[in-house]
Symmetry: C2
Subunit: 182 residues, 2 copies
DNA sequence: GACGATACGGGATGGCCATCCCGGTTGTCG
DNA sequence: CGACAACCGGGATGGCCATCCCGTATCGTC
């Protein structure tokens, strides 16, 4: 690959990460090109569709989060690992509108894309959850989809990432509800 | 107002209610006109902008829900009134994608529209909440916006309205978390 | 240093959609 | 019944956006 091509590709990725994070997934490709300082054609050539940009960025971000899940699973006991991760991921979603859109299903199907590209983004989360359930720390009738949905509730956009107090309050509420107790 | 105009207006409202409920707020105006059996011009004349249709339908729907909140507030003790209402509204949102979009903030700001048109959709909910808090049934650091946000989490669209079991599970989780306990 | 391959820019294209417009129609009132 | 105002339909308009295209510029190699 030619040097300038690689350089532009990296610029585009950097610009897209930032643009998605601040504006959400609906940011125009044109705007990403502008931020990257390249033409729209250059974006299209590196990433033929907007969805391929989603794949490159969102799935990569989720991989990072899953790595975090795995290291938490090793270092902590199941209960704290799960709840720490929940908080960690919710915070990530609150400061990254693109991630929040993806989790909320806004026009991008994470699970389908992960499958298509061979990533395993659900696995790490599922392991964390089932371990916590086996340890009796989480109600055992919930599944990862429930968890994801409840998390998106903590990401309500109307107060932005600013109101961290409200967010941690909501996280606390959901985590309390998730704890086993019958 | 001429008889045919009134008839068409009603048809449009009926069609729009159904279209929003099944397709969400992003359904094209054209599609609403088609369902109503009128031309797109007729829709535009009765409702100059799409948002005026939102106002007519969503705010009206919310009024109904607020009425329900008020009657629950009279009939029940504060705690059950609040939690009943939460469940009632979440179920409403699950079967009405338009309502879910509006609650989730998908391109329509309920609070602003309510203010602009003079409706008081938040009031009933707020009363219910503060009453429940005074009765010690709900943590007193949450506000209506939190409640609304957590509710949208229970409305995750990816399983549609079909999976009622998952929904009531999530409602249970959130309500448990909302209960006071320190 | 020159040449072929590769990549670039940004205008052109086409789809989608809300809103506007106007020639034709229909209800209403005298 | 007749005339006129009100209303109707749906095509036209314009904005937004992803994607494609092609003349031009740049890279890497010989």
């Amino acid at each position: 690959m030619r040097a300038d091509a690689k350089r532009n590709r990296d610029r585009i990725l950097t610009a897209a990460i930032e643009a998605f994070a601040t504006e959400g997934l609906s940011v125009p490709v044109h705007e990403i090109a502008r931020r990257a300082g390249v033409g729209t054609g250059t974006v299209s050539r590196h990433f033929p569709t907007k969805e391929s940009l989603y794949d490159a960025i969102i799935l990569h971000r989720l991989e990072q989060l899953v790595d975090r899940a795995r290291s938490l699973a090793e270092a902590e006991e199941p209960s704290t690992a799960f709840f720490e991760f929940f908080k960690y991921m919710a915070d990530a979603g609150a400061t990254d509108h693109g991630l929040a859109d993806a989790l909320g299903g806004g026009g991008y199907d994470v699970a389908a894309s992960a499958e298509r590209t061979g990533y395993d983004v659900m696995g790490g989360m599922r392991d964390l959850l089932t371990a916590a359930q086996r340890a009796g720390a989480v109600r055992d009738d919930v599944d990862v989809v429930d968890v994801k949905a409840l998390m998106t509730g903590c990401l309500a956009r109307e107060r932005g990432a600013t109101d961290a107090a409200a967010r941690s309050r909501m996280i606390e509420i959901v985590c309390t509800g998730l704890r086993a107790h019958r």
